[in-house]
């Protein structure tokens, strides 16, 4: 009775946190992520107005200049302005990222949902396909497919779609299995709705939460993968400005650090931005994390 050091009774006057404090605590990083992502979207859209150079303008006389007032991020081996190319590179990276993730997300979700709802041999066929694709290291498989199809943005996107849909299919499959046995689904069946309507109107809207989180978190992932493929020479055709291929060009220029560093920093910020945002969305959708 003499020891009061860890008494359970706490001061009643502990203030309940203010709204702003709670928001910062819970969504502080997500807000930073959102700001970064929005900033990059703005940059991608308004790139031509943010620079006085053209991304493809070759100026051999001024090649490999260090950062200066004229060229903020310096120039590359062909004398092109690195700052301008980073800005324009955002267009390619963000566009491919969104296309790959949204298309793979839609396709994978549909296939996974159908598999979970139909069961039987349909489920087996679709889910074994996902297993098959997931057997391979994704970047190697994408590399092989892209190489087989030929160099180019479209072919690389197709290659990435092939390796990207299975994770969405798996997630959608497990989400739909959870929802399928809920009583509201049975209620919809008792009313007599046909299976397609039950799946699309009742089950899927209740399964999208984790899928949205995966889409957001995966955008950064897709951008890295696409940059990686470009780095290996498969993504875009030169002279299109793209971060991965820019890093490849600066790979051996050790003294001219700016050629590879700035596109690398661009990839870093975009990926961090999407990850913070994705985490925030996950917290927002997860009722357990919302308590306080």
């Amino acid at each position: 009775m003499s020891v009061y050091d860890t008494a359970a009774i706490t001061d009643v006057s502990i203030p309940v946190r203010t709204r702003a404090q709670r928001f910062r605590r819970r969504y502080g990083l997500a807000t930073i992520g959102a700001v970064i992502v929005v900033a990059w979207l703005v940059i991608a859209i308004f790139a031509p107005w943010l620079t006085s150079y053209s991304p493809d303008m070759v100026d051999v006389a001024n090649r490999l200049q260090p950062p200066s007032w004229a060229h903020w991020f310096g120039t590359d081996a062909l004398g092109r302005d690195v700052y301008t190319r980073v800005l324009f590179g955002a267009r390619v990276s963000l566009a491919t990222g969104f296309v790959v993730v949204l298309a793979a997300g839609a396709l994978g979700t549909l296939l996974g949902a159908v598999a979970a709802y139909a069961r039987g041999w349909v489920e087996e066929a679709i889910m074994r396909c996902t297993d098959l694709v997931l057997c391979f290291p994704p970047i190697i498989l994408a590399l092989a497919i892209a190489a087989a199809l030929g160099i180019g943005t479209t072919n690389t996107i197709i290659a990435m779609l092939v390796v990207w849909w299975p994770k969405f299919a798996r997630l959608a499959h497990s989400m739909v299995i959870v929802q399928r046995s809920q009583e509201y689904v049975e209620a919809a069946m008792v009313i007599g709705f046909n299976p397609a309507r039950v799946l699309l109107r009742h089950i899927l809207p209740n399964s999208v939460g984790p899928l949205i989180v995966l889409v957001t978190l995966d955008l950064g992932n897709a951008i890295i993968t696409f940059a990686g493929l470009s780095f290996l020479g498969l993504g875009v055709l030169p002279p299109t400005p793209e971060w991965g291929s820019m890093i490849a060009e600066g790979r051996e220029l050790v003294a001219q650090w700016w050629v590879a560093t700035f596109p690398g920093a661009a990839i870093l910020t975009v990926v961090i931005g999407f990850n913070f945002l994705g985490d925030g969305i996950r917290d927002w959708l997860d009722p357990k994390a919302r308590k306080r």
């Binding site: 009775m1 009774i9 706490t10 309940v16 049975e186 299976p195 308590k291």
Partner: protein
């Protein structure tokens, strides 16, 4: 228990100050939840004592603060909950002011706790032995070897069969009832002075509940362990506890000796709790409506400043705007009510039945000629299981095997049985969520057993379903208007948005909800309100027949009474026919015209309700009836309960012949060899038992059958 023992106990409880200090002395305990929306005073100034060897019951509806009280006693609360004041003196030591190491020495050693959910309170990756030994060794009273031996002994004394093998099993290898026994064995392993049991039987079947309650009584009486038993079920409390607290809105509103409290409640809330449940030991009243109090439990963020029960209280007076204190009105009897403190006696049970009664239903004996609304003939449903290995033989769950019965227009048929007996599967076969393997399901003469989705669709308008879990049965992403409007438009019941709109409002009014509820989402409603929405959806298409799958088992007793009354009223107004599935026999008896008893996928007995309860022909039915606790301590203490041995056998390999034979005290060799046919032993009274005709000649009610069974067993 002899009558003199009861009076002794009463005498004790009337003089709380006499003798040794109490085991547990709680003074002005206050626990609050600091939520984003504000401070919720979950426990608001609770004081009580538990004497050595006493069994104290705490009763109340969900949200009343009873579980938070239990957790506060052990300091097991998580953020955002905090204990903000009071003392919890356990054997003289204040638990709230102990250090965590002192607390650890008390937890599990001197105070043990058993929780509601036996599925999650054992560690799934550790063997039973390991978990039990750990508890004993940690507190230093046993070494590894002696602890292992004691674990086996304890499991045996808690009624776990083959305890030597059980200790080497994992929790998932046990049923819910067995796990609760393991929890009790673990709790008792260090011979605690106090056992706190928080709704220990709520997740269990009645037959298993009866076994566990018996065990608790034994622990209390044989070992002198003090017990705090928390439950929403007055029958459970009556069976075990000598003294009872009633909680409402975070406060104790009444306290007294259990017998007196139940026979003569002195708080209107207690009165309402007692009258909201139908009793299995009384004759069924002609009017089947239950006395229910209106309204919902108070909003914990916004408690009334006066008496917290006043907004729902049928006896409220002007003074109730002031907050009453918990005062002693007689020795050992406290109440928090201005009305009863002034000496008013609350009316007896019979006097409060709603005056507007429905005419008693005509028990139709001439039903044979009538065409049944629903006819099941030899319905079979087996679910295939995944093979465990490539060489494994295919296994199936025999969910429903050869089930036949009829439901006639306008009647309520109750379907009862333990969980796992196939009740819910049968419901889903009838509404064709599942397709039966064979047999006929005739609705209005048309066989829908194998009909296609499209072929059944028109019939769906005649036949709807109400589900068990009000939190899962409404699509959380749809507004109420959409939930109710969808079926209307889909089946073309209403044309145009305006007509749909007005029909939705009409439906909401019919089930007693505000028409403005249409614009809200399901999560904005309480459990009882959601169940009303679910019922509104079921009646939206003007069906003749509704399958209700445990529609009230997830609700508090007062809300249960409201929903039953609503269903009865709808039946009267709309001429509905119900198939009412439940495990609560008292409720089923109260509202059903006929009852079907299901065991392991087979029909055991079918009979008109009164016949079934007066002359049950199947031994299983007798066990079921006997297992139901009665909320009357005087009856409950002395009532011999028929102990049904063991658990439901696996439906993967059901017993040959009669499926009940493995647990039946009357079983003979013939029961294993031949499946007893379901045949009529009296008009409308069918039973599937080789000895049913012999049982029919045994007079007397089910509650006094033990000697009859014994004599039957001795006879051959």
């Amino acid at each position: 228990m002899t009558p003199s023992a009861i009076t002794n106990r009463e005498a004790e409880s009337m003089q709380p100050s006499s003798g040794a200090p109490p085991t547990l002395d709680v003074r002005d305990l206050r626990t609050s939840f600091f939520t984003d929306e504000g401070i919720v005073k979950a426990v608001d100034g609770v004081s009580f004592t538990v004497r050595e060897g006493e069994a104290l019951g705490i009763v109340g509806e969900s949200g009343s603060g009873k579980s938070v009280t239990a957790l506060s006693l052990m300091r097991l609360l998580d953020e955002p909950a905090r204990i903000v004041g009071g003392e919890v003196l356990f054997q003289g030591r204040d638990i709230l002011r102990s250090t965590t190491s002192q607390l650890r020495a008390i937890r599990g050693a001197s105070i043990a706790m058993v929780f509601q959910d036996p599925m999650t309170s054992l560690n799934p990756v550790l063997k039973i032995a390991k978990q039990m030994i750990e508890t004993m060794v940690t507190h230093g009273d046993y070494t590894g070897q002696s602890a292992e031996k004691r674990a086996v002994d304890l499991l045996g004394s808690m009624g776990v069969p083959t305890p030597e093998r059980a200790v080497d099993s994992y929790p998932h290898q046990f049923s819910g009832g067995m796990r609760q026994r393991v929890m009790l064995a673990m709790g008792m392993s260090n011979e605690p002075a106090l056992l706190i049991a928080d709704e220990p039987t709520t997740a269990l079947d009645v037959t298993i509940q009866a076994q566990i309650l018996e065990l608790l009584r034994e622990l209390n009486q044989k070992f002198g362990t003090s017990i705090v038993l928390i439950s929403h079920d007055l029958g459970v409390i009556a069976r075990v506890c000598s003294r009872t607290l009633v909680m409402y809105g975070g406060e104790i509103v009444e306290e007294g000796v259990t017998e007196r409290l139940l026979s003569d409640p002195r708080h209107p809330y207690t009165w309402a709790l007692i009258n909201a449940v139908p009793r299995i030991d009384e004759d069924r009243p002609a009017d089947r409506r239950l006395a229910s109090i209106e309204g919902q439990p108070p909003d914990p963020l916004n408690l009334p400043s006066g008496c917290r029960f006043a907004p729902r209280c049928p006896f409220r007076i002007a003074k109730c705007d002031e907050h009453p204190e918990l005062l002693e009105i007689k020795p050992g009897r406290k109440t928090r009510c201005w009305v009863t403190q002034a000496g008013t006696v609350l009316p007896a049970r019979a006097a409060v039945k709603p005056a507007s009664g429905s005419a008693p239903k005509t028990e139709s004996s001439s039903r044979a000629a009538e065409e049944p609304l629903l006819a099941l003939r030899n319905v079979v449903k087996h679910f295939p299981l995944a093979r465990r290995g490539f060489m494994d033989r295919p296994r199936v769950v025999h969910a429903i095997d050869d089930v036949s019965f009829d439901v006639f227009r306008g009647e309520t048929v109750g379907l009862v049985g333990e969980s796992g007996c196939g009740k819910s599967t049968l419901a889903r076969l009838i509404v064709r969520i599942h397709r039966p393997d064979s047999g006929e399901i005739r609705v209005g003469g048309q066989d829908i057993a194998q009909a296609s989705y499209e072929a059944i669709r028109p019939l769906r308008r005649q036949m709807q379903m109400v589900f068990q879990d009000p939190y899962a049965s409404l699509n959380p992403r749809m507004k109420v208007a959409q939930i109710l409007g969808e079926p209307l438009q889909f089946h073309g019941v209403t044309k145009g948005a305006g007509e749909t709109r007005s029909r939705i409002e009409e439906l909401l009014r019919t089930v007693g909800l505000n028409p403005r509820s249409a614009e809200r989402f399901p999560h904005e409603f309480s459990g009882g309100q959601r169940q009303r929405i679910s019922i509104a959806r079921a009646i939206a298409l003007n069906p003749e027949f509704i399958v209700a799958d445990e529609p009230i088992s997830a609700l508090d007793v007062n809300i249960q009474a409201q929903i039953i009354n609503l269903m009865l009223e709808l039946q009267e107004r709309l001429g509905l026919t119900y198939l009412f599935i439940a495990h609560d026999l008292a409720v089923v008896r109260h509202i059903s015209d006929r009852i079907v008893v299901l065991y392991l996928g087979k029909v055991m007995e079918v009979a008109p309700t009164d016949d079934l309860f007066r002359h049950p022909l199947h031994p299983y039915t007798r066990f079921l009836i006997s297992a139901v606790p009665v909320p009357d301590a005087a009856v409950e203490r002395d009532r011999p309960v028929l102990k049904l041995a063991g658990e439901l056998p696996s439906a993967i390999s059901p017993p040959s012949g009669c499926r009940f034979r493995t647990r039946c005290p009357m079983a003979q060799p013939i029961c294993a060899a031949e499946t007893p046919p379901l045949i009529a032993h009296a008009p409308g009274h069918l039973a599937a038992c080789h000895f049913a005709s012999a049982m029919a000649h045994v007079p007397g009610a089910a509650l006094h059958m033990e000697s009859q069974v014994d004599s039957r067993m001795a006879a051959p």
